[in-house]
Symmetry: C2
Subunit: 134 residues, 2 copies
Amino acid sequence: MRGGILKHMLNQVADLDRVFHALSDPGRRLMLERLSRGPASVSELGKPLAMSLAAVVQHVQVLEESGLVRSQKLGRIRTCRLNPVTLRSAERWISERRTLVERRLDRLGEYLAETAGSPDEGPSAPAPQANPTQ
Amino acid sequence: MRGGILKHMLNQVADLDRVFHALSDPGRRLMLERLSRGPASVSELGKPLAMSLAAVVQHVQVLEESGLVRSQKLGRIRTCRLNPVTLRSAERWISERRTLVERRLDRLGEYLAETAGSPDEGPSAPAPQANPTQ
DNA sequence: TCAATGCTGAAGTGTCTACTTGACTGTTGA
DNA sequence: TCAACAGTCAAGTAGACACTTCAGCATTGA
């Protein structure tokens, strides 16, 4: 079934929206840092945060909907864990783009070095590739 | 001067806010993907996006304020470039947390394997470290 | 010279976000 | 049994966000 693949690709886009949005809040990043050192309860996550418990719960929901955190409730305590898989997918998106630019800049540097000019990318420097949009 | 260091650390937090927020929008990520293949003008970045040019400009501003993109104007054309350094700092934040969890899970797996139980992290499994919060 | 191009700035609008308070439920330990 | 605890749910609010339209301003190519 082809639709499944397309749907999966579209979901990946929406997933990245949620993941990066979850990461964009300093309080949530603090929670993730705490969780990187081991599982924790909701109220434990909120302890350093100067906000109501209800607000903390909402942040945990954002983290959980993004897939960055998984949790399970035992008795009255909800224990949260960091999910490294989701963390990895965000990391991969960034590193793929970064390596592309870096490689391009490397090629440009080599080109400039072997041609004559100074080794920085000038505004109207000729591109080393044939592509005129570079 | 000690305050300089503190200020720098606080700025790093605010910077990550801006970077991850910039990354959380699918349109802006599309722009970054285009820029990973080479510099581009503002209107070129907006071409695949089905929104007004003014909106595109606002997105470019968000990207530029986050440090992900740098731009310069020549004549009437503003040329944008992806800044790999900022991309790297976001990537590093993620990978540092990810490696912490993964290492912890690895240790737990080894512990469970050499003790007796099945190799998955059960909800009430005993922790391999002395720390009772694990 | 003049119209088209590429962008900028300001103001307006609907929606989303990050909280708050307060009332409530199930769990635990004394 | 009963109070303290851990979390949940719902509703309300101020501010942020992602757009829009419209007016304006250099720059450029014919």
